[in-house]
Symmetry: C2
Subunit: 254 residues, 2 copies
Amino acid sequence: MQNVLNALRALEEVAVRQPIGVADLARAMQLPKSSVQRTLVTLREAGWIRPTGSVPTRWVVTTKALHVGRHATDELGLRDIALPVMEELRRRTDETIHLAVREGGNVVLVERLETSQPVRIILPLGQNLIMHASANGKAVLAADPPEAAERYMAHGLRDFTDTTITDPVRLRAELAVTRERGWATNSGEWRPDVSAVAAAVIGEGGLPVASISVNVPTSRMSDEAGPVYGALVSEAAKRISTALGRAHEESTGR
Amino acid sequence: MQNVLNALRALEEVAVRQPIGVADLARAMQLPKSSVQRTLVTLREAGWIRPTGSVPTRWVVTTKALHVGRHATDELGLRDIALPVMEELRRRTDETIHLAVREGGNVVLVERLETSQPVRIILPLGQNLIMHASANGKAVLAADPPEAAERYMAHGLRDFTDTTITDPVRLRAELAVTRERGWATNSGEWRPDVSAVAAAVIGEGGLPVASISVNVPTSRMSDEAGPVYGALVSEAAKRISTALGRAHEESTGR
DNA sequence: AGGGTTGTGCCGTGAAGCGGCACGCTGTAT
DNA sequence: ATACAGCGTGCCGCTTCACGGCACAACCCT
């Protein structure tokens, strides 16, 4: 079903490059113009993209993808279970709380509650978090079997800021510390002004399925606040993990 | 491209019914089992769905859709323009702020900032808001040309609570009031405990392209608060509208 | 032990997607 | 004023590749 693959690729390409026209898109995809045009018409018929109405015609994605995407965490009722815990966590910290799920080799932001304090940065839902340069990523990596971490490191560790951990030896040590104390940190390792602490949510297979984090502007992240938030986020993750196990037992029959 | 349409339909069906198996899905879609299976394998190859790993195989959607969906408001940089204004609005009200965009005959929630107060409503992003039973919907409807409102009403006005406006005559009057004062209201007309005030964001064509709202539990929505929030949300929407116009002028050359 | 249902894979046939091509249009450079 | 290059759109014959009936092994309840 090559044309389905092409159509989905076209959809992604439109999302990234929108607003875009047929010719540009055909060039970007290295496909004949007429084929791309037919694909665009089909995607519109399905309601996933729409022309802006301008001339020449430019295409943009609709919110159809959002409708589908919001079910991404439904598998075990993760969102329903996590939200109340996240709310309490925010009440206690008054900082931005993130929920991210594991997805193959990545960690993706799926839910978010913000601090009421003046905020620096708002990450969009669907954002890919870097495994070795985010608290959520490191929490998941630490909870994974060591082979998984090694496999990830084999691809190299890109650096984003001057505090990013790019040395595999240092990352291994950091993961050991994380395992020991039960929560991961991020001190401006992805973007200078974003710091965080996180803890992994463990699924019934014993593997990490998600992670929650408390995100704080680096300027507000004091030496005292870290351990306090760490203890809170670690306890919250544990509560979600056990609730998840209970929900799973019920749904699979006792 | 019938198979593309089927594949996208399958994707939506999986999202709604997940976790689901081949046979169930084939029944739901009224399609041969083998066709559906082939489609599922293709969708997995493209990274939009994945098997849970259990036996028998069950399919769930990945976060791919979220990645695509987060671009849905990129068209004019709406999100970037609206977020700072929404933040200030939340700071002033300490209530939940919603940003919704127009989409054909619907209004869809695309961004959200929550109150820090304990009692609150959390709607998932991608939620479809009812035109005649939400503040955002009524704000858009009031800013539309009268024909559009009439066309919408022609389909009938479903009721959700005992305060839902189901009488076209009353709705017309309500829209007139909304136009007059510059902001729309919702007093538990969709869900009893949800009230809100909203104002439409006007695009460069003079038509409403989006709407922002202040959402308050009905219990907290006093007679005094309404007009105060109304004035704030109305001013915020105006600021977004003019900023949007400016951004559009620049991008289309002077 | 058995009937039903599951997920998976094969394969011949025919429909439908592919892509080269041409058209009308717009905006720019000559 | 004219030529030209780029755009979006539509046609149409060839060939491919998706369709769906069918078979099979594994699994679950009786």
